[in-house]
Subunit: 829 residues, 2 copies
């Protein structure tokens, strides 16, 4: 009778998808590094995927049944409110960062600047330097310690958010602790005078707010836990993270449309109007919250909106009277293309150096010796401070303040504002020190100087500035502080662009608008480093608030990207690659279509009977088969048995077979979380009435159940005794199934002693009954498109007669995996 | 032996998906109208879908095999060049339209304006009116006759392009003749003084250029036919149409980003980075081509870029000195929300009236009596002219030209330009006639007046203007001329917004910036009428070139859309609905998830054997089975036959069965083009070696072949004699298969006498072997997402054992169909 119970539900078998490895990610990375070739960092298999597909199981259907249009509208309204809240809080975060950076920087520069002015007469410059050093080292130390507390808070955060939006879970990336460390850390990093921006961390912060706010609970602070049973799924979370990241961009650059496009470009695999609309609204909320408070605080103009983003480029404008002034002409486009090429080349160089540095760090700093990273930060800080100081004091030229070239336009109030931020170090009589003006100012001010200062900078100064900045910022990106890359890249590029304009003006006597060249230079270098396309174009257009720059910016970015792609990837992609994240590209290459689903799938599967004895789940006796076909063949070979014997055999098999893999499912659970169990059973129970023909029907695929769901069922005691019907099994509601999201209980949380091994679990109500499937002959491009576009986590491969033959996950679709398979394919031929 | 040949390939059976109907679309619409209830226009079944999925059959694989990375790069380069060409030619089209509209309008207004000035002294105003009437009627007559030549050129074209991008083929919509008629027609319609815009037609023109240019051939002009064997698929064409439509928007509004978003919002079901990048490039090319030539021609400033789009809103700007001036403040937002509500309500009213008008036209004008439509156009033209003239001459007020309210800002050069376009009809001493200024000017000038004129308009004038304009433009949209809706809606809304500003200023003494209110009013009304969301926001922001308007425009559009949606759909959706286009919405409603694939699929299928005798395809003897299950059951019931007899039975079945449907496949081909044949066969040939078990395997689904492909195979004589092997069948290459795209040969083109009915066609190399499939239990939302996102045309429903049980096409997923099925579902419960 008990045999009956197991086989009654169908045949069950289990195995696992990827080889278990108990080492921690970090150990793996290090091993991988020392073991592997320079460029052979393979995507790691321990990253999990986000699941954008809905699991329409019975608890979910119950929720749907109860959902009338009124409730649906309420649900929708909650979403809008949350999106607004995310936008506002991202804006406020930006305000917070901006306010304190401003405060600390002003304090620092006024203190040291004053000291320099005084000391240039008294000759006590060393004292000024020490003052500056002390302040900067203090700031950077705080920032670095914060990163020690939460290591994922280091860097810009864009690689992590890009990975997340691509569908990869990176542990700790959207946690409250990360948020606090990132926000406070970036504030001190920028205030400490490092060549870092606050834009990348703003995007990361926005994304964390997006992930966290709608959950109304925190993993870091357990006490923060309200009853709010909505949005407990990867699908919803990813939507909110998209909105948050967009809000971050919007707050950083005052570019709500650019932010929306950023989220779409990096994350959304498909265009969802309702979502995009919310994302745009969220971005707008962020920009205008920030704008409202900044305009109020800085200009005391409450209610007006005049300071859109943390970084904005000021107004590029010809003076009305000057008929000869153009921001750019068709002729300039040719130079912009050349600058794009240069930007691409320099960006590739930057990325190459930075990649080597990052690898060096990974190889030589043990993850447990993180304090060395703190020391490195402090070293970078000291070198940077020294360079800034020495360059400002000794390398600058004194330039006339009033424009020497009457043909360039003057810009009224913009110019006044720009002129108020010059530095005069040792320069008198209406001149200013050009090097000090660039170095001894906040970076945003330096960008404004390069974009809008009509007085010239000396070519030597610009070149020196570029070289120093290039290498220092390259070293800085990757040290253990939260650090954005946008502003340093823009500044680097702008100095180069300004240099080009200088040369054209002075050596070739061309009438060019120097600000435009600085802008295009900035775009070219930034484009060469990050290689973003559409979103960056729009972000830059929005930051300049000048639609006519659209074409030149776009062409420059395009050329820079193409040139750079010739040598290496964008900096974010490089860092994603170094982390071993299994990122999915946009499309597969044409050649990959020589492979089909059966070539790339994982054929070793774990099967579960719909009605499974707990014993077979927990004890060391679970049937592990290499593939459905074998199972079928075995069953076929048993066709001469009478039906009652057949059942025995099936059960025997369940008990005997596992020697093949030698592991029980519980061990597997301990080792690999959330590996799916493709759920298999024949659609009818075997019975005496079965005809021969029916008895020989192959095992068919009927659904997917996740490891986490199985553990959840066991923990909550969802099972029935063998002499009862499965209807007596307690039912879990959707909110009970998702209550513990995103950290589902571990198998460790399960007290095995409490489980009765003879009880049976009916998983059918909880499995995903109709996931998307593909046939084994489907070509890789089709598989890839389906997988990426629908945001799947598991894609079962089912043959023409409904048998499951393999499963495809993200790891089977990474570029590296496909290339390896393609190589095999050629060898086989 | 010959029996062997047929059954050797498997079982074949045919049927069809939808009921045949030989009436023309127009007849159907009319019948539908008279038969059905007011709101019961059901989507018509005679529209075909575009197929965005790739058909990876053997000829395609051959192409792939030959495609190395060098060729792939060349292919990519061709795409970029074509995209650039599309952008440039769209820009030039815009230039052409703009140039002639300007020419004709200036000619007209200067002629008549002069006459009015003279006649106001001499009292010969009737003569001036007659002059105006004659000119307008002439223009509109030309425009209307052009629409007579090509009826789909009527209207804005946005509903058609929206449908196309959604995946519905509308005959003739992207043809060269349509392009010529549309472009020339809209030129005369606008010049003729009708209340129509040229923006919608620009988008349509861009889309036609996108569809046509990459084909290097024309259906209208057969002689245009170069050898260019690329991009002969719906997939490529749709990409180019996206780019072209975006370029149209970009040229019309100077909004390249808005254009890209328009294409994405309306068309792209999934976000494809490479495509989006090309679309943006295409838009940029269009804007800057137009900008380059317009700046050159109008300002004689070749090489500068100062006139971005056909329609731009001028610069909204506070004068630097005026510290109190804000474009908008937080307080104004409340008014903007109210204006959004008003815009939504008025838009809904507009749509409601227009819908009734459109229905009246459909009911009462026989499609063959199109000349009545010409007469209607002329009538509208005469009434409009009369209203313009009488209102200008009699209803205007004389207002002081210099701003009476000193608090409003003055705008320097913008204002000078605006002041140069006022009309003084009967007003002297530095005053102007406000009604004449609005009515007796091109619409773009009137918009500029409302946005930037500092002098006030009388509230009565504004109200009168709004009412007259509202009803006349409502009547006009739908008459038989190419006519956009953007400009009239903007003008309507702007007058209302200006009225609100007037009231606030004068009655409540608030300090508001009138231009902003006019802009928000325009946005509100336009949003209420068209209900577009993201793209419209971005288009308006780009047109104003002022990022700070982002939030107010977005909030207004959102409120207007929500308010309007309470009553009816957007005007474009209404017209799509009236045409019976089976448009797919963005998402299914929550309730629809109570249905599964098996509830909505079409269970009556047509099957084809992989190896089919031509006889059974062409003659009246084709096996038509209602479903695979039945076929299987029949085969099962034959299990006692010896294997040779089994074959006989199969063939007999093929010959005898069709009585059920009573139609041969040829007749079906004549009536319904491109209905798919799900292709079914067992994976092995039945043979003596078959075991019992194998013989009883159900028929499994193996691929899809289109009717057009079958006809192509027959026409090109792809078949083999029964005593030969299928390898002797001639093979077609991919370019031969797609040569006739988009008009595949009709069955009429096939000389039946030439076909040997005993020959056998092997369709396996040409079918799509692995289309995406779903299981019968899949919920509607999943089916819908897969179908819409992947841009499918047919989605086979395959059960757990690999049998095909039905097929889902676009028609099974329209809102109306789902609602009907849901109603059935409730009744069944």
């Amino acid at each position: 009778m008990e045999m009956m119970a197991c086989c009654g539900g169908g045949l069950c078998c289990q195995c696992c998808c990827n080889e278990g490895d108990t080492r921690t990610p970090e150990e793996l990375t290090i091993l991988g590094e020392t073991r592997e070739d320079e460029d052979e960092i393979l995507p790691r298999k321990d990253y999990e995927s986000l699941d954008y597909d809905r699991c329409i199981n019975e608890p979910f259907l119950e929720v749907l049944e109860g959902l009338d249009n009124k409730k649906a509208r309420k649900y929708e309204a909650i979403k809008w409110i949350l999106v607004f809240a995310i936008g506002v809080s991202t804006g406020l975060t930006g305000l917070f960062v901006d306010f304190f950076v401003r405060l600390f920087t002003q304090l620092k520069f006024s203190l040291v600047g004053q000291s320099v002015e005084e000391c240039s007469e008294n000759g006590c410059l060393a004292l000024s330097l020490l003052e500056l050093l002390a302040l900067n080292v203090m700031f950077i130390f705080i920032s670095s310690v914060l990163v020690l507390v939460e290591p994922v808070a280091a860097g810009s955060g864009i690689p992590e958010i890009k990975s997340y939006l691509n569908g990869v879970k990176i542990p700790g990336i959207v946690r409250l602790r990360t948020f606090i460390c990132k926000v406070t850390g970036v504030l001190f990093a920028v205030a400490g005078g490092l060549f870092v921006g606050k834009e990348g961390p703003m995007i990361h912060s926005g994304a964390i707010l997006g992930a966290g706010l709608p959950q109304f609970q925190s993993i870091t602070f357990k006490k923060i836990r309200f009853h709010f049973p909505y949005f407990r799924s990867d699908r919803d979370k990813r939507d909110f993270v998209s909105a948050g990241a967009a809000a971050g961009v919007a707050a950083a650059f005052g570019a709500p449309i650019g932010g929306t496009l950023f989220s779409l470009e990096e994350g959304s695999s498909f265009w969802n109007q309702a979502l995009t609309w919310k994302v745009l609204f969220c971005s707008m909320s962020a920009t205008f919250t920030l704008n409202f408070f900044r305009s109020g605080i800085n200009f005391n103009k409450w209610g007006s909106f005049q300071l859109p983003g943390l970084l904005n480029f000021g107004e590029f404008k010809c003076v009305d009277g000057d008929k000869m002034c153009h921001l750019w002409t068709a002729v300039d486009l040719a130079f912009f293309v050349l600058m794009g090429v240069a930007g691409g080349l320099l960006g590739a160089l930057f990325n190459c150096i930075n990649k080597r540095l990052a690898k060096y760090r990974m190889r030589n700093v043990h993850p447990k010796a993180r304090f060395i990273r703190v020391l490195e930060s402090l070293l970078v800080c000291m070198v940077t401070t020294l360079v800034i100081f020495v360059a400002s004091v000794t390398l600058g030229e004194c330039r006339d303040l009033v424009s020497t070239n009457n043909n360039t336009s003057t810009q009224g109030s913009v110019n006044e504002e720009v002129n108020s931020t010059i530095r005069r170090f040792f320069c008198y009589n209406n001149t200013y020190n050009d090097m000090a003006t660039l170095f001894f100012n906040p970076q945003e001010v330096a960008i404004h100087q390069l974009f809008h200062q009509n007085a010239t900078f000396s070519p030597v100064t610009l070149l020196l500035f570029f070289v120093l900045y290039f290498f220092l910022s390259c070293w800085t990106y990757g040290v253990s502080v939260p650090s954005g890359l946008f502003v340093p890249s823009l500044l680097c590029g702008a100095s180069l662009g300004r240099l080009v304009a200088n040369v054209l003006k002075i050596n070739f006597h061309m009438q060019v608008y120097a600000g435009t060249f600085a802008l295009i230079g900035a775009a070219a270098f930034l484009g060469g480093v990050v290689r973003m396309t559409i979103s960056l174009t729009v972000i830059l257009i929005e930051s300049t608030n000048e639609i006519t720059y659209g074409l030149p910016i776009m062409i420059t970015l395009m050329v820079a990207k193409w040139t750079g792609d010739f040598f290496n990837k964008g900096i974010y992609d490089i860092h994603i690659h170094l982390k071993g994240v299994p990122l999915l590209e946009w499309e597969t290459e044409v050649e990959m279509d020589k492979l089909t689903a059966s070539d790339i799938m994982e054929p070793n599967l774990t099967y579960v009977y719909p009605h499974t004895r707990i014993q077979s789940l927990v004890a060391s006796k679970s049937s592990v088969l290499t593939r459905a076909g074998e199972q079928r063949r075995r069953c076929q070979s048993m066709k001469s048995y009478p039906s009652s014997e057949l059942r025995n055999v099936c059960d025997e098999q369940t008990a005997v077979e596992p020697a093949e893999e030698g592991q029980d499912i519980l061990q597997q659970m301990l080792e690999r979380r959330h590996v799916p169990y493709p759920n298999l059973y024949p659609d009818q129970s075997p019975s005496e009435e079965w005809t021969m023909e029916e008895r020989f029907r192959p095992l068919t695929f009927h659904g997917l159940i996740l490891r986490s769901q199985l553990v959840n069922l066991l923990i909550r005691g969802v099972c029935y005794a063998e002499n009862q019907s499965s209807a007596s099994q307690p039912r879990l509601s959707h909110s009970e199934m998702t209550e513990d999201y995103p950290r589902f209980p571990d198998i460790h949380d399960l007290d095995l002693a409490l489980l009765n091994p003879r009880m049976i679990v009916d998983v059918t109500p909880y499995m995903n009954p109709c996931p998307y499937t593909v046939s084994p002959n489907t070509h890789v491009s089709q598989v890839f498109n389906l997988f990426r576009t629908m945001g799947l986590r598991h894609l079962p491969v089912v043959n023409a007669v409904g048998e499951i033959v393999g499963i495809i996950t993200r790891h089977n679709l990474t570029y590296e995996f496909l290339v390896a398979k393609l190589r095999q394919h050629y060898i086989t031929i």
